[in-house]
């Protein structure tokens, strides 16, 4: 249950924002989006993707297309954090769902 609390806290009250250097490059964005895609793919295997991860990925790509790599990297990192939280949720729930069953 404590883990559930921690997860809820993470989910609801935001993922710590990352600070960015003044100018971010395409290469940094590529790396950030690859990491996010990889995590989201893992979440997909667990059938536990979040719509918010998808939204963050989309806005990352949109910002990159507009040349705003600062925002693009920030959004990609947010997507990665969300995808990782969804993976953590799936694993934690897999171990604990039975405790919620009505007895």
């Amino acid at each position: 249950m404590r883990l559930a609390f921690a997860t809820v806290g993470l989910l609801l009250f935001g993922i710590a924002s990352q600070t960015q250097a003044a100018s971010t490059t395409q290469a940094e964005f590529d790396a950030a989006v690859a990491a996010a895609n990889s995590a989201e793919k893992d979440a997909g295997v667990l059938k536990n993707r979040w719509t918010t991860t998808e939204q963050a990925l989309a806005s990352a790509k949109k910002a990159a297309a507009a040349g705003d790599f600062d925002t693009a990297v920030k959004e990609a990192q947010r997507a990665e954090a969300l995808a990782k939280a969804s993976i953590a949720q799936a694993k934690e729930q897999d171990a604990t769902w039975k405790a919620a069953v009505l007895r």
């Binding site: 559930a4 979040w50 949720q89 769902w97 039975k98 405790a99 919620a100 009505l102 007895r103």
Partner: protein
Amino acid sequence: MLRIIVILIAASFVAAPGVAGATDAANPDADFKAFRDYFTKRFPNVPLTDFVNGPYSMDSGLRKQWEAIEDFPPYDFAVDHGKEMFATPFKNGKTYGDCFPNKGIGVRQNYPYFDVKAGEVVTLELALNRCREANGETPFSYVKDEMASLTAYMAFTSRGKAFDIKIPDDPRALAAYENGERYFYTRRGQLNFSCASCHVQSAGQHIRTEVLAPALGILNAMPIYRSEWGSMGTISRRFVTCNSQVRGVPLEPQDENYRDVEYFLSYMANGLPVSGPGARP
């Protein structure tokens, strides 16, 4: 939205069930009793068979509007459309009725069932599309329109019949049931809600003016005409929208998990009457 989150999270802790051994094997009979006891004790004034009327079983203001709508319900068009489709042969001359016991009339209460040959749960929606494919027709979208009309007609001809879901003596059937149970109680989406968070722990509570439907009997009313949608929706549609509402990416309609959770929930509703098609806010 934040208020909803707070309510649901608070509710989920208040009503957190007792810790049970995580290694317990699935026990459908014990689950059935516990599930029923939970709802009948929590809502002692709701007659058991009234749970199939969802939010209308627990709010008199809503019930009055529903009764006005039931005078001439908007799902009538879907029922008639479904009836017409049942009467219209496929290109090969066969009909939907040929795919079902008793020509598909009055059989809704027996779905989903576990197909021991194929080793999987077969829902009514899946059976309908397989019927189409077996007769050389393209399958319909699972979420609305024709599929909703067909299931509306089949439910209508089965009104009042008690759900009769069986778990055959086959370890794969029990595994499907348990997977459905797991899916029902597993929290998902960014909001971290399970099906149970809303429809067990918070059943009957108001979210703005809406009343969360109790999980007990929730599928008996399907398919439903939702005023919010302005159209009919199937069981598939309900699962998909539930997932999105908790900010989870929905699975494909008729994904094994959806079929299994339908199997689990329908088993919990055994003995309760078919009330579909239904009208909902």
